[in-house]
Amino acid sequence: MTETPTTVEFTPERLATAQEMIARYPQGRQKSALLPLLHLAQEQWGWLSPEVMDYVARMLEIQAIEVYEVATFYTMFHLDPVGKHVIEYCRTGPCCLMGGEEVYDYLKQKLGIQAGETTPDQKFTLKEVECLAACGMGPVFQIREKYYMHLTRERVDEIIDELSR
Protein backbone atom coordinates (compact mmCIF):
# COMPACT_ATOMS: atom_id res chain seq x y z
CA MET A 1 0.00 0.00 0.00
CA THR A 2 1.19 3.44 -0.79
CA GLU A 3 1.56 5.72 2.21
CA THR A 4 1.35 9.36 3.07
CA PRO A 5 4.85 10.62 2.39
CA THR A 6 6.75 11.91 5.40
CA THR A 7 9.25 13.88 3.36
CA VAL A 8 7.89 15.27 0.15
CA GLU A 9 10.65 15.63 -2.35
CA PHE A 10 11.37 14.11 -5.72
CA THR A 11 14.29 11.71 -5.97
CA PRO A 12 17.35 13.44 -7.47
CA GLU A 13 16.69 11.79 -10.86
CA ARG A 14 13.05 12.82 -10.85
CA LEU A 15 13.94 16.31 -9.69
CA ALA A 16 16.21 16.66 -12.72
CA THR A 17 13.42 15.35 -14.95
CA ALA A 18 10.96 17.78 -13.37
CA GLN A 19 13.25 20.72 -14.04
CA GLU A 20 13.76 19.59 -17.61
CA MET A 21 9.96 19.30 -18.02
CA ILE A 22 9.38 22.83 -16.73
CA ALA A 23 12.04 24.17 -19.13
CA ARG A 24 10.12 22.73 -22.13
CA TYR A 25 7.48 25.44 -21.91
CA PRO A 26 7.92 29.14 -22.71
CA GLN A 27 9.12 31.43 -19.95
CA GLY A 28 6.36 32.40 -17.58
CA ARG A 29 4.25 29.45 -18.77
CA GLN A 30 5.65 26.97 -16.28
CA LYS A 31 2.11 26.04 -15.22
CA SER A 32 1.95 24.05 -18.45
CA ALA A 33 4.22 21.51 -16.74
CA LEU A 34 1.50 20.71 -14.20
CA LEU A 35 0.16 17.52 -15.81
CA PRO A 36 3.65 16.15 -16.55
CA LEU A 37 4.70 16.84 -12.94
CA LEU A 38 1.58 15.22 -11.50
CA HIS A 39 2.31 12.09 -13.54
CA LEU A 40 5.89 12.15 -12.29
CA ALA A 41 4.70 12.56 -8.70
CA GLN A 42 2.22 9.72 -9.03
CA GLU A 43 4.99 7.55 -10.44
CA GLN A 44 7.03 8.21 -7.29
CA TRP A 45 4.37 8.11 -4.57
CA GLY A 46 1.64 6.02 -6.21
CA TRP A 47 -1.02 8.63 -5.46
CA LEU A 48 -1.36 12.37 -4.99
CA SER A 49 -1.66 13.37 -1.35
CA PRO A 50 -2.38 17.02 -0.49
CA GLU A 51 1.26 17.31 0.63
CA VAL A 52 2.48 16.13 -2.75
CA MET A 53 0.14 18.51 -4.57
CA ASP A 54 1.36 21.38 -2.41
CA TYR A 55 4.95 20.45 -3.26
CA VAL A 56 4.13 20.54 -6.99
CA ALA A 57 2.43 23.92 -6.52
CA ARG A 58 5.54 25.34 -4.86
CA MET A 59 7.73 23.96 -7.60
CA LEU A 60 5.61 25.67 -10.29
CA GLU A 61 5.09 28.82 -8.22
CA ILE A 62 1.31 28.54 -8.46
CA GLN A 63 -1.46 28.38 -5.83
CA ALA A 64 -2.21 24.99 -4.30
CA ILE A 65 -5.83 25.31 -5.43
CA GLU A 66 -4.63 25.44 -9.04
CA VAL A 67 -3.15 21.99 -8.55
CA TYR A 68 -6.16 20.59 -6.65
CA GLU A 69 -8.64 21.73 -9.30
CA VAL A 70 -6.61 20.05 -12.02
CA ALA A 71 -5.85 16.85 -10.11
CA THR A 72 -9.57 16.38 -9.39
CA PHE A 73 -10.58 16.98 -13.02
CA TYR A 74 -8.43 14.33 -14.69
CA THR A 75 -9.33 10.72 -14.03
CA MET A 76 -5.81 9.29 -14.12
CA PHE A 77 -4.81 10.80 -10.81
CA HIS A 78 -5.39 8.82 -7.64
CA LEU A 79 -6.40 11.08 -4.78
CA ASP A 80 -6.43 8.30 -2.21
CA PRO A 81 -3.85 5.63 -1.41
CA VAL A 82 -3.98 2.71 -3.82
CA GLY A 83 -2.70 -0.85 -3.92
CA LYS A 84 0.55 -1.93 -5.53
CA HIS A 85 -1.12 -2.58 -8.88
CA VAL A 86 -3.95 -0.34 -10.07
CA ILE A 87 -6.04 -2.17 -12.65
CA GLU A 88 -7.83 0.31 -14.89
CA TYR A 89 -10.54 -1.64 -16.64
CA CYS A 90 -12.18 -0.34 -19.83
CA ARG A 91 -15.96 -0.40 -19.53
CA THR A 92 -16.82 1.28 -22.84
CA GLY A 93 -18.97 -0.14 -25.68
CA PRO A 94 -16.47 -1.73 -28.09
CA CYS A 95 -14.75 -3.69 -25.28
CA CYS A 96 -18.17 -4.78 -23.99
CA LEU A 97 -19.05 -6.14 -27.45
CA MET A 98 -16.03 -8.42 -27.13
CA GLY A 99 -17.20 -9.84 -23.80
CA GLY A 100 -15.68 -7.17 -21.59
CA GLU A 101 -18.50 -7.28 -19.04
CA GLU A 102 -18.25 -11.03 -18.42
CA VAL A 103 -14.49 -10.84 -18.03
CA TYR A 104 -14.91 -7.88 -15.69
CA ASP A 105 -17.35 -9.80 -13.49
CA TYR A 106 -14.85 -12.63 -13.33
CA LEU A 107 -12.02 -10.25 -12.42
CA LYS A 108 -14.07 -8.70 -9.60
CA GLN A 109 -14.95 -12.14 -8.31
CA LYS A 110 -11.34 -13.29 -8.49
CA LEU A 111 -10.06 -10.24 -6.63
CA GLY A 112 -13.05 -10.18 -4.28
CA ILE A 113 -13.44 -6.41 -4.66
CA GLN A 114 -15.62 -3.90 -6.47
CA ALA A 115 -14.59 -0.87 -8.51
CA GLY A 116 -12.80 1.70 -6.36
CA GLU A 117 -11.72 -0.88 -3.78
CA THR A 118 -8.34 -2.34 -2.83
CA THR A 119 -7.68 -5.97 -1.91
CA PRO A 120 -6.99 -6.59 1.82
CA ASP A 121 -3.36 -7.50 1.00
CA GLN A 122 -3.00 -4.07 -0.63
CA LYS A 123 -1.85 -5.66 -3.88
CA PHE A 124 -4.63 -4.63 -6.24
CA THR A 125 -6.87 -1.61 -6.67
CA LEU A 126 -9.64 -1.81 -9.25
CA LYS A 127 -10.78 1.21 -11.20
CA GLU A 128 -13.26 1.48 -14.07
CA VAL A 129 -12.13 3.71 -16.90
CA GLU A 130 -13.55 4.82 -20.22
CA CYS A 131 -12.21 3.97 -23.67
CA LEU A 132 -8.44 3.36 -23.77
CA ALA A 133 -8.12 3.62 -27.59
CA ALA A 134 -7.48 -0.09 -28.09
CA CYS A 135 -10.98 -1.12 -29.23
CA GLY A 136 -9.80 -3.63 -31.83
CA MET A 137 -7.91 -5.53 -29.14
CA GLY A 138 -10.63 -5.59 -26.49
CA PRO A 139 -11.42 -6.40 -23.79
CA VAL A 140 -8.62 -4.27 -22.36
CA PHE A 141 -7.25 -3.12 -19.05
CA GLN A 142 -4.20 -1.13 -18.13
CA ILE A 143 -1.79 -1.37 -15.23
CA ARG A 144 0.53 1.63 -15.05
CA GLU A 145 1.94 2.00 -18.57
CA LYS A 146 1.14 -1.50 -19.76
CA TYR A 147 -1.90 -2.46 -21.82
CA TYR A 148 -3.31 -5.97 -21.34
CA MET A 149 -5.44 -6.86 -24.37
CA HIS A 150 -7.67 -9.63 -25.73
CA LEU A 151 -8.66 -10.45 -22.15
CA THR A 152 -10.37 -13.72 -21.31
CA ARG A 153 -10.91 -15.48 -17.99
CA GLU A 154 -7.78 -17.54 -18.61
CA ARG A 155 -5.74 -14.46 -19.44
CA VAL A 156 -7.01 -12.73 -16.27
CA ASP A 157 -5.94 -15.77 -14.25
CA GLU A 158 -2.46 -15.64 -15.76
CA ILE A 159 -2.02 -11.91 -15.23
CA ILE A 160 -3.32 -11.80 -11.67
CA ASP A 161 -1.42 -14.92 -10.63
CA GLU A 162 1.76 -13.53 -12.12
CA LEU A 163 1.39 -10.18 -10.36
CA SER A 164 0.40 -11.83 -7.06
CA ARG A 165 3.73 -13.61 -6.77
Binding site: R24, P26, L60, F73, A134, C135, G138, R144, K146, Y147
Partner: protein
Amino acid sequence: MGKKILLEHINVPGIETYDVYRKQGGYTAVEKALKTMSPDGVVEEVKKAGIRGRGGAGFPMGMKWSFLAKPEGVPRYLVCNADESEPGTFKDHYLMKNIPHLLVEGMIISSYALGANKSFIYVRGELMYVIRILEKAIAEAKAAGFLGKNILGSGYDLELVVHPGGGAYICGEETALLESLEGKRGNPRNKPPFPAVKGLYQCPTVVNNVESIATASWIVNNGGDAYAAIGIGRSSGTKLISASGHIKKPGVYEIELGVPVEEFIYSDEWCGGIRDGHHLKALVAGGSSVPILPANLITKLANGEPRLMTYESLSDGGFQTGTMLGSGGFIVFDETACVVRNTWNFSRFYHHESCGQCSPCREGTGWMEKVLHRIEYGHGSMHDIDLLVDVSKKIEGNTICPLGDAAAWPVASAIRHFRDEFEWHITNPSEATKPGAVFKGDMALV
Protein backbone atom coordinates in the same frame (compact mmCIF):
# COMPACT_ATOMS: atom_id res chain seq x y z
CA MET B 1 -6.51 -2.66 -53.40
CA GLY B 2 -5.92 1.00 -52.94
CA LYS B 3 -3.04 3.24 -52.21
CA LYS B 4 -1.12 3.21 -48.95
CA ILE B 5 0.21 6.55 -47.87
CA LEU B 6 0.61 6.25 -44.12
CA LEU B 7 0.92 2.51 -43.59
CA GLU B 8 3.01 1.66 -46.65
CA HIS B 9 6.01 0.67 -44.53
CA ILE B 10 4.16 -0.48 -41.41
CA ASN B 11 5.45 -4.03 -41.70
CA VAL B 12 9.10 -3.16 -42.31
CA PRO B 13 11.04 -4.51 -39.30
CA GLY B 14 12.51 -1.69 -37.21
CA ILE B 15 10.41 1.03 -38.89
CA GLU B 16 10.03 2.67 -35.46
CA THR B 17 13.73 3.55 -35.53
CA TYR B 18 15.24 6.53 -37.30
CA ASP B 19 17.68 4.47 -39.38
CA VAL B 20 15.09 2.17 -40.91
CA TYR B 21 12.56 4.98 -41.39
CA ARG B 22 15.23 7.06 -43.14
CA LYS B 23 16.18 4.13 -45.41
CA GLN B 24 12.54 3.89 -46.48
CA GLY B 25 12.67 7.47 -47.69
CA GLY B 26 11.89 9.13 -44.37
CA TYR B 27 12.71 12.82 -43.85
CA THR B 28 13.14 13.46 -47.58
CA ALA B 29 10.01 15.61 -47.35
CA VAL B 30 11.67 17.77 -44.68
CA GLU B 31 14.69 18.20 -46.95
CA LYS B 32 12.48 19.08 -49.89
CA ALA B 33 10.32 21.53 -47.94
CA LEU B 34 13.10 23.34 -46.11
CA LYS B 35 15.51 23.51 -49.04
CA THR B 36 13.22 24.11 -51.99
CA MET B 37 9.85 25.37 -50.77
CA SER B 38 8.60 28.47 -48.99
CA PRO B 39 6.28 28.01 -46.01
CA ASP B 40 3.41 29.38 -48.08
CA GLY B 41 4.35 26.95 -50.83
CA VAL B 42 3.79 24.05 -48.41
CA VAL B 43 0.45 25.51 -47.31
CA GLU B 44 -0.53 25.78 -50.98
CA GLU B 45 0.18 22.07 -51.61
CA VAL B 46 -1.84 21.04 -48.57
CA LYS B 47 -4.71 23.21 -49.81
CA LYS B 48 -4.52 21.61 -53.25
CA ALA B 49 -4.52 18.16 -51.65
CA GLY B 50 -7.95 18.91 -50.24
CA ILE B 51 -7.26 16.77 -47.16
CA ARG B 52 -9.95 17.15 -44.53
CA GLY B 53 -9.21 17.01 -40.82
CA ARG B 54 -8.90 13.36 -39.82
CA GLY B 55 -9.86 13.83 -36.17
CA GLY B 56 -13.57 13.75 -36.89
CA ALA B 57 -14.81 17.18 -37.92
CA GLY B 58 -13.53 16.90 -41.49
CA PHE B 59 -12.65 20.58 -41.86
CA PRO B 60 -10.22 21.20 -44.77
CA MET B 61 -6.71 21.26 -43.31
CA GLY B 62 -5.25 23.73 -45.81
CA MET B 63 -8.04 26.18 -45.13
CA LYS B 64 -7.49 25.84 -41.39
CA TRP B 65 -3.82 26.63 -41.95
CA SER B 66 -4.59 29.66 -44.08
CA PHE B 67 -6.77 31.15 -41.31
CA LEU B 68 -3.78 31.36 -38.95
CA ALA B 69 -3.23 34.97 -37.91
CA LYS B 70 0.33 36.21 -38.29
CA PRO B 71 0.80 39.38 -36.26
CA GLU B 72 4.38 40.69 -36.04
CA GLY B 73 6.46 39.58 -33.10
CA VAL B 74 3.89 37.11 -31.71
CA PRO B 75 4.82 33.42 -31.61
CA ARG B 76 2.58 30.97 -33.46
CA TYR B 77 1.98 27.42 -32.35
CA LEU B 78 1.16 24.09 -33.91
CA VAL B 79 -0.44 21.59 -31.56
CA CYS B 80 -1.00 18.01 -32.61
CA ASN B 81 -4.12 16.49 -31.15
CA ALA B 82 -3.13 12.98 -30.10
CA ASP B 83 -5.75 12.77 -27.36
CA GLU B 84 -7.55 10.00 -29.26
CA SER B 85 -10.42 9.08 -26.93
CA GLU B 86 -13.50 8.65 -29.09
CA PRO B 87 -14.85 5.15 -28.39
CA GLY B 88 -14.12 2.93 -31.38
CA THR B 89 -11.08 4.93 -32.48
CA PHE B 90 -7.53 3.64 -32.07
CA LYS B 91 -5.76 4.58 -35.32
CA ASP B 92 -3.54 7.35 -33.89
CA HIS B 93 -2.42 5.02 -31.10
CA TYR B 94 -1.47 2.46 -33.77
CA LEU B 95 0.28 5.00 -36.00
CA MET B 96 2.32 6.66 -33.24
CA LYS B 97 3.33 3.39 -31.65
CA ASN B 98 4.44 1.78 -34.91
CA ILE B 99 5.74 4.64 -37.07
CA PRO B 100 6.50 7.50 -34.67
CA HIS B 101 8.80 9.21 -37.18
CA LEU B 102 5.92 9.70 -39.60
CA LEU B 103 4.32 12.02 -37.07
CA VAL B 104 7.62 13.70 -36.19
CA GLU B 105 8.38 14.35 -39.86
CA GLY B 106 4.86 15.67 -40.43
CA MET B 107 5.22 17.95 -37.40
CA ILE B 108 8.44 19.45 -38.78
CA ILE B 109 6.90 20.16 -42.19
CA SER B 110 3.64 21.49 -40.76
CA SER B 111 5.45 23.68 -38.21
CA TYR B 112 7.65 25.09 -40.97
CA ALA B 113 4.59 25.85 -43.10
CA LEU B 114 2.95 27.69 -40.22
CA GLY B 115 6.06 29.45 -38.96
CA ALA B 116 5.96 27.78 -35.55
CA ASN B 117 9.23 27.38 -33.64
CA LYS B 118 7.84 25.37 -30.76
CA SER B 119 5.22 22.75 -31.43
CA PHE B 120 3.40 20.36 -29.15
CA ILE B 121 2.08 16.84 -29.43
CA TYR B 122 -0.67 16.42 -26.83
CA VAL B 123 -0.97 12.68 -26.20
CA ARG B 124 -3.62 11.16 -23.94
CA GLY B 125 -1.91 10.31 -20.64
CA GLU B 126 -2.94 6.66 -20.72
CA LEU B 127 -0.56 6.24 -23.66
CA MET B 128 2.54 6.98 -21.58
CA TYR B 129 4.39 4.16 -23.31
CA VAL B 130 3.68 5.81 -26.67
CA ILE B 131 4.90 9.13 -25.28
CA ARG B 132 8.22 7.46 -24.52
CA ILE B 133 8.35 6.08 -28.09
CA LEU B 134 7.70 9.55 -29.50
CA GLU B 135 10.30 11.16 -27.25
CA LYS B 136 12.87 8.66 -28.46
CA ALA B 137 11.96 9.39 -32.09
CA ILE B 138 12.26 13.12 -31.46
CA ALA B 139 15.70 12.66 -29.89
CA GLU B 140 16.79 10.61 -32.91
CA ALA B 141 15.49 13.22 -35.35
CA LYS B 142 17.27 15.93 -33.40
CA ALA B 143 20.54 13.99 -33.42
CA ALA B 144 20.19 13.65 -37.19
CA GLY B 145 19.81 17.41 -37.56
CA PHE B 146 16.10 17.53 -38.39
CA LEU B 147 15.17 19.39 -35.20
CA GLY B 148 16.76 22.15 -33.18
CA LYS B 149 18.49 25.31 -34.38
CA ASN B 150 19.00 26.15 -38.06
CA ILE B 151 17.65 22.86 -39.41
CA LEU B 152 19.57 21.73 -42.53
CA GLY B 153 21.12 25.19 -42.72
CA SER B 154 17.75 26.71 -43.59
CA GLY B 155 17.75 29.17 -40.71
CA TYR B 156 14.57 27.55 -39.42
CA ASP B 157 14.45 26.51 -35.72
CA LEU B 158 12.04 24.03 -34.19
CA GLU B 159 11.57 22.29 -30.85
CA LEU B 160 8.98 19.53 -30.42
CA VAL B 161 7.43 18.89 -27.02
CA VAL B 162 5.35 15.83 -26.16
CA HIS B 163 2.75 16.68 -23.54
CA PRO B 164 0.74 14.06 -21.59
CA GLY B 165 -2.95 14.50 -20.89
CA GLY B 166 -4.48 13.29 -17.65
CA GLY B 167 -7.44 11.17 -18.72
CA ALA B 168 -10.27 13.32 -20.07
CA TYR B 169 -12.15 12.75 -23.33
CA ILE B 170 -13.07 16.43 -23.49
CA CYS B 171 -9.43 17.38 -24.10
CA GLY B 172 -9.83 16.04 -27.64
CA GLU B 173 -11.89 19.18 -28.25
CA GLU B 174 -9.34 21.68 -29.47
CA THR B 175 -9.96 24.56 -27.06
CA ALA B 176 -10.19 22.19 -24.07
CA LEU B 177 -6.92 20.69 -25.24
CA LEU B 178 -5.32 24.15 -25.22
CA GLU B 179 -6.63 24.86 -21.71
CA SER B 180 -5.20 21.52 -20.63
CA LEU B 181 -1.86 22.27 -22.26
CA GLU B 182 -1.77 25.49 -20.24
CA GLY B 183 -2.04 23.41 -17.06
CA LYS B 184 -5.74 23.93 -16.40
CA ARG B 185 -8.93 21.88 -16.28
CA GLY B 186 -10.09 20.88 -19.75
CA ASN B 187 -13.03 23.25 -20.04
CA PRO B 188 -13.70 24.21 -23.68
CA ARG B 189 -13.53 27.91 -24.53
CA ASN B 190 -16.20 29.98 -26.20
CA LYS B 191 -15.52 30.64 -29.86
CA PRO B 192 -14.79 33.23 -31.19
CA PRO B 193 -12.00 33.99 -30.73
CA PHE B 194 -10.89 30.90 -32.64
CA PRO B 195 -7.52 29.29 -31.89
CA ALA B 196 -6.22 30.57 -35.24
CA VAL B 197 -6.38 34.04 -33.68
CA LYS B 198 -6.11 33.37 -29.93
CA GLY B 199 -5.09 29.84 -29.09
CA LEU B 200 -2.30 28.54 -26.89
CA TYR B 201 -1.12 31.28 -24.48
CA GLN B 202 -3.49 33.61 -26.39
CA CYS B 203 -1.26 33.28 -29.47
CA PRO B 204 -2.34 32.16 -32.96
CA THR B 205 -2.52 28.36 -32.96
CA VAL B 206 -3.39 25.52 -35.29
CA VAL B 207 -4.60 22.24 -33.80
CA ASN B 208 -4.50 19.22 -36.13
CA ASN B 209 -5.06 15.50 -35.65
CA VAL B 210 -2.16 12.99 -35.76
CA GLU B 211 -3.31 11.39 -39.01
CA SER B 212 -3.71 14.77 -40.74
CA ILE B 213 -0.21 15.90 -39.77
CA ALA B 214 1.33 12.54 -40.65
CA THR B 215 0.00 12.96 -44.19
CA ALA B 216 1.96 16.19 -44.76
CA SER B 217 5.19 14.36 -45.73
CA TRP B 218 3.52 12.48 -48.57
CA ILE B 219 1.85 15.64 -49.84
CA VAL B 220 5.17 17.52 -49.89
CA ASN B 221 6.94 14.64 -51.64
CA ASN B 222 4.26 13.96 -54.23
CA GLY B 223 2.37 17.23 -54.52
CA GLY B 224 -1.13 18.27 -53.55
CA ASP B 225 -2.55 17.39 -56.95
CA ALA B 226 -1.36 13.80 -56.67
CA TYR B 227 -3.04 13.53 -53.27
CA ALA B 228 -6.26 15.06 -54.57
CA ALA B 229 -6.30 12.45 -57.35
CA ILE B 230 -6.72 9.72 -54.72
CA GLY B 231 -10.21 9.17 -53.38
CA ILE B 232 -13.44 10.65 -54.69
CA GLY B 233 -14.20 14.35 -55.10
CA ARG B 234 -14.14 16.26 -51.82
CA SER B 235 -13.20 13.06 -50.01
CA SER B 236 -9.62 13.05 -51.24
CA GLY B 237 -6.82 10.80 -50.11
CA THR B 238 -6.72 7.83 -47.80
CA LYS B 239 -8.22 7.38 -44.34
CA LEU B 240 -7.26 5.20 -41.42
CA ILE B 241 -10.23 3.21 -40.22
CA SER B 242 -10.26 1.63 -36.75
CA ALA B 243 -12.39 -1.49 -37.15
CA SER B 244 -13.76 -3.17 -34.02
CA GLY B 245 -16.66 -5.27 -32.82
CA HIS B 246 -18.11 -8.44 -34.27
CA ILE B 247 -15.90 -8.82 -37.32
CA LYS B 248 -13.36 -11.48 -38.21
CA LYS B 249 -10.39 -9.14 -38.43
CA PRO B 250 -10.50 -6.13 -36.12
CA GLY B 251 -7.66 -3.67 -36.65
CA VAL B 252 -6.50 -0.45 -38.27
CA TYR B 253 -6.82 -0.27 -42.04
CA GLU B 254 -5.80 2.42 -44.49
CA ILE B 255 -8.36 2.73 -47.25
CA GLU B 256 -8.59 4.91 -50.29
CA LEU B 257 -11.71 7.01 -49.64
CA GLY B 258 -14.49 5.68 -51.84
CA VAL B 259 -14.33 1.97 -51.02
CA PRO B 260 -17.90 0.60 -50.80
CA VAL B 261 -18.94 0.05 -47.18
CA GLU B 262 -20.08 -3.47 -48.02
CA GLU B 263 -16.68 -4.33 -49.45
CA PHE B 264 -14.91 -2.86 -46.42
CA ILE B 265 -16.97 -5.06 -44.10
CA TYR B 266 -16.86 -8.30 -46.09
CA SER B 267 -13.59 -8.26 -48.04
CA ASP B 268 -10.76 -10.37 -46.65
CA GLU B 269 -8.47 -7.42 -47.24
CA TRP B 270 -10.23 -5.51 -44.47
CA CYS B 271 -12.75 -6.63 -41.84
CA GLY B 272 -13.15 -10.11 -43.35
CA GLY B 273 -16.90 -10.21 -42.74
CA ILE B 274 -19.03 -10.78 -39.65
CA ARG B 275 -17.73 -13.44 -37.27
CA ASP B 276 -18.75 -16.99 -38.18
CA GLY B 277 -22.40 -17.90 -37.89
CA HIS B 278 -23.56 -14.35 -37.26
CA HIS B 279 -25.10 -11.50 -39.21
CA LEU B 280 -24.69 -7.76 -39.40
CA LYS B 281 -27.26 -5.95 -37.27
CA ALA B 282 -25.98 -2.39 -36.89
CA LEU B 283 -22.99 -0.18 -37.43
CA VAL B 284 -21.41 2.90 -35.93
CA ALA B 285 -19.24 4.16 -38.77
CA GLY B 286 -17.27 7.04 -37.33
CA GLY B 287 -16.80 6.74 -33.56
CA SER B 288 -19.38 6.53 -30.79
CA SER B 289 -20.82 10.00 -31.37
CA VAL B 290 -22.06 9.49 -34.92
CA PRO B 291 -25.57 8.10 -35.53
CA ILE B 292 -25.90 4.31 -35.38
CA LEU B 293 -27.39 2.73 -38.53
CA PRO B 294 -29.29 -0.54 -38.93
CA ALA B 295 -28.01 -3.15 -41.40
CA ASN B 296 -30.42 -2.23 -44.19
CA LEU B 297 -29.21 1.39 -44.31
CA ILE B 298 -25.50 0.71 -44.03
CA THR B 299 -24.54 -0.71 -47.37
CA LYS B 300 -27.03 1.00 -49.68
CA LEU B 301 -28.24 4.55 -50.17
CA ALA B 302 -31.94 5.34 -50.45
CA ASN B 303 -31.68 5.24 -54.25
CA GLY B 304 -30.24 1.72 -54.12
CA GLU B 305 -26.68 2.70 -55.01
CA PRO B 306 -23.90 1.31 -52.83
CA ARG B 307 -22.89 3.47 -49.86
CA LEU B 308 -19.23 4.40 -49.99
CA MET B 309 -16.60 5.14 -47.36
CA THR B 310 -16.54 8.89 -48.04
CA TYR B 311 -17.61 11.93 -46.03
CA GLU B 312 -20.47 12.58 -48.49
CA SER B 313 -21.79 9.06 -49.02
CA LEU B 314 -21.83 8.14 -45.33
CA SER B 315 -23.82 11.27 -44.55
CA ASP B 316 -26.16 10.81 -47.52
CA GLY B 317 -29.76 10.99 -46.35
CA GLY B 318 -28.90 13.26 -43.42
CA PHE B 319 -29.62 11.88 -39.98
CA GLN B 320 -32.82 10.22 -41.20
CA THR B 321 -31.01 7.48 -43.09
CA GLY B 322 -27.35 8.47 -42.98
CA THR B 323 -24.50 8.94 -40.52
CA MET B 324 -20.94 10.40 -40.64
CA LEU B 325 -17.39 9.30 -41.38
CA GLY B 326 -16.26 11.09 -38.22
CA SER B 327 -12.97 9.78 -36.83
CA GLY B 328 -13.28 6.49 -38.73
CA GLY B 329 -14.11 4.50 -35.58
CA PHE B 330 -15.95 1.64 -37.30
CA ILE B 331 -17.85 -0.42 -34.71
CA VAL B 332 -19.71 -3.46 -36.04
CA PHE B 333 -22.61 -5.10 -34.19
CA ASP B 334 -24.03 -8.54 -34.97
CA GLU B 335 -27.41 -9.85 -33.85
CA THR B 336 -26.14 -10.75 -30.37
CA ALA B 337 -25.62 -7.05 -29.54
CA CYS B 338 -28.31 -5.21 -27.60
CA VAL B 339 -28.80 -1.71 -28.95
CA VAL B 340 -30.43 -0.52 -25.72
CA ARG B 341 -27.51 -1.69 -23.61
CA ASN B 342 -24.98 -0.18 -26.00
CA THR B 343 -26.83 3.13 -26.01
CA TRP B 344 -26.89 3.16 -22.22
CA ASN B 345 -23.16 2.36 -22.23
CA PHE B 346 -22.36 5.26 -24.59
CA SER B 347 -24.59 7.57 -22.54
CA ARG B 348 -22.72 6.69 -19.39
CA PHE B 349 -19.51 7.51 -21.24
CA TYR B 350 -20.68 10.99 -22.22
CA HIS B 351 -22.07 11.68 -18.77
CA HIS B 352 -18.75 10.65 -17.24
CA GLU B 353 -16.79 12.77 -19.73
CA SER B 354 -18.93 15.92 -19.70
CA CYS B 355 -16.76 18.71 -18.28
CA GLY B 356 -19.76 20.14 -16.45
CA GLN B 357 -19.49 23.65 -17.79
CA CYS B 358 -22.83 23.85 -19.69
CA SER B 359 -26.00 22.76 -17.91
CA PRO B 360 -27.72 21.11 -20.92
CA CYS B 361 -24.79 18.71 -21.23
CA ARG B 362 -23.93 18.33 -17.54
CA GLU B 363 -27.54 17.58 -16.52
CA GLY B 364 -28.84 16.16 -19.79
CA THR B 365 -26.19 13.47 -20.18
CA GLY B 366 -26.92 12.32 -16.63
CA TRP B 367 -30.68 12.17 -17.28
CA MET B 368 -30.19 10.18 -20.46
CA GLU B 369 -27.91 7.75 -18.68
CA LYS B 370 -30.44 7.24 -15.87
CA VAL B 371 -33.43 6.83 -18.17
CA LEU B 372 -31.55 4.38 -20.39
CA HIS B 373 -30.39 2.48 -17.33
CA ARG B 374 -33.96 2.00 -16.11
CA ILE B 375 -35.12 0.83 -19.55
CA GLU B 376 -32.21 -1.61 -19.80
CA TYR B 377 -32.90 -2.95 -16.30
CA GLY B 378 -36.63 -3.45 -16.82
CA HIS B 379 -38.08 -0.38 -15.09
CA GLY B 380 -38.80 1.80 -18.12
CA SER B 381 -42.11 3.19 -19.31
CA MET B 382 -43.18 4.04 -22.87
CA HIS B 383 -43.04 7.71 -21.94
CA ASP B 384 -39.29 7.29 -21.34
CA ILE B 385 -38.62 6.89 -25.05
CA ASP B 386 -40.11 10.27 -25.85
CA LEU B 387 -38.41 11.74 -22.81
CA LEU B 388 -35.02 10.61 -24.17
CA VAL B 389 -35.74 12.19 -27.55
CA ASP B 390 -36.83 15.38 -25.82
CA VAL B 391 -33.70 15.58 -23.63
CA SER B 392 -31.40 14.81 -26.55
CA LYS B 393 -32.96 17.64 -28.56
CA LYS B 394 -32.48 20.05 -25.69
CA ILE B 395 -28.80 19.23 -25.41
CA GLU B 396 -28.03 19.31 -29.13
CA GLY B 397 -26.77 22.69 -30.29
CA ASN B 398 -27.06 24.27 -26.86
CA THR B 399 -23.55 23.79 -25.51
CA ILE B 400 -20.19 25.54 -25.88
CA CYS B 401 -18.51 22.53 -27.45
CA PRO B 402 -19.69 19.56 -29.55
CA LEU B 403 -19.66 17.06 -26.66
CA GLY B 404 -23.34 17.81 -26.17
CA ASP B 405 -24.13 16.90 -29.77
CA ALA B 406 -21.89 13.86 -29.51
CA ALA B 407 -23.92 12.67 -26.52
CA ALA B 408 -27.29 13.41 -28.12
CA TRP B 409 -26.80 11.79 -31.53
CA PRO B 410 -26.22 8.17 -30.45
CA VAL B 411 -29.39 8.25 -28.32
CA ALA B 412 -31.59 9.95 -30.92
CA SER B 413 -30.39 7.66 -33.71
CA ALA B 414 -30.78 4.47 -31.68
CA ILE B 415 -34.41 5.39 -30.99
CA ARG B 416 -34.97 6.49 -34.59
CA HIS B 417 -33.83 3.15 -36.00
CA PHE B 418 -34.39 0.67 -33.18
CA ARG B 419 -37.52 1.98 -31.46
CA ASP B 420 -39.11 -1.49 -31.44
CA GLU B 421 -36.14 -2.79 -29.46
CA PHE B 422 -36.62 -0.10 -26.80
CA GLU B 423 -40.36 -0.88 -26.68
CA TRP B 424 -39.64 -4.59 -26.29
CA HIS B 425 -37.44 -3.85 -23.27
CA ILE B 426 -40.26 -1.82 -21.73
CA THR B 427 -43.10 -4.25 -22.44
CA ASN B 428 -41.16 -7.45 -21.68
CA PRO B 429 -38.99 -6.52 -18.71
CA SER B 430 -38.68 -10.02 -17.26
CA GLU B 431 -37.55 -11.45 -20.56
CA ALA B 432 -35.36 -8.50 -21.57
CA THR B 433 -33.39 -8.52 -18.33
CA LYS B 434 -32.37 -12.16 -18.56
CA PRO B 435 -28.60 -12.51 -19.05
CA GLY B 436 -27.72 -12.33 -22.72
CA ALA B 437 -31.32 -11.63 -23.80
CA VAL B 438 -31.52 -9.71 -27.06
CA PHE B 439 -34.52 -8.45 -29.00
CA LYS B 440 -35.27 -10.72 -31.94
CA GLY B 441 -37.94 -8.77 -33.76
CA ASP B 442 -38.34 -8.54 -37.48
CA MET B 443 -35.27 -6.38 -37.90
CA ALA B 444 -33.39 -6.69 -41.14
CA LEU B 445 -30.12 -8.54 -40.78
CA VAL B 446 -27.55 -8.65 -43.54
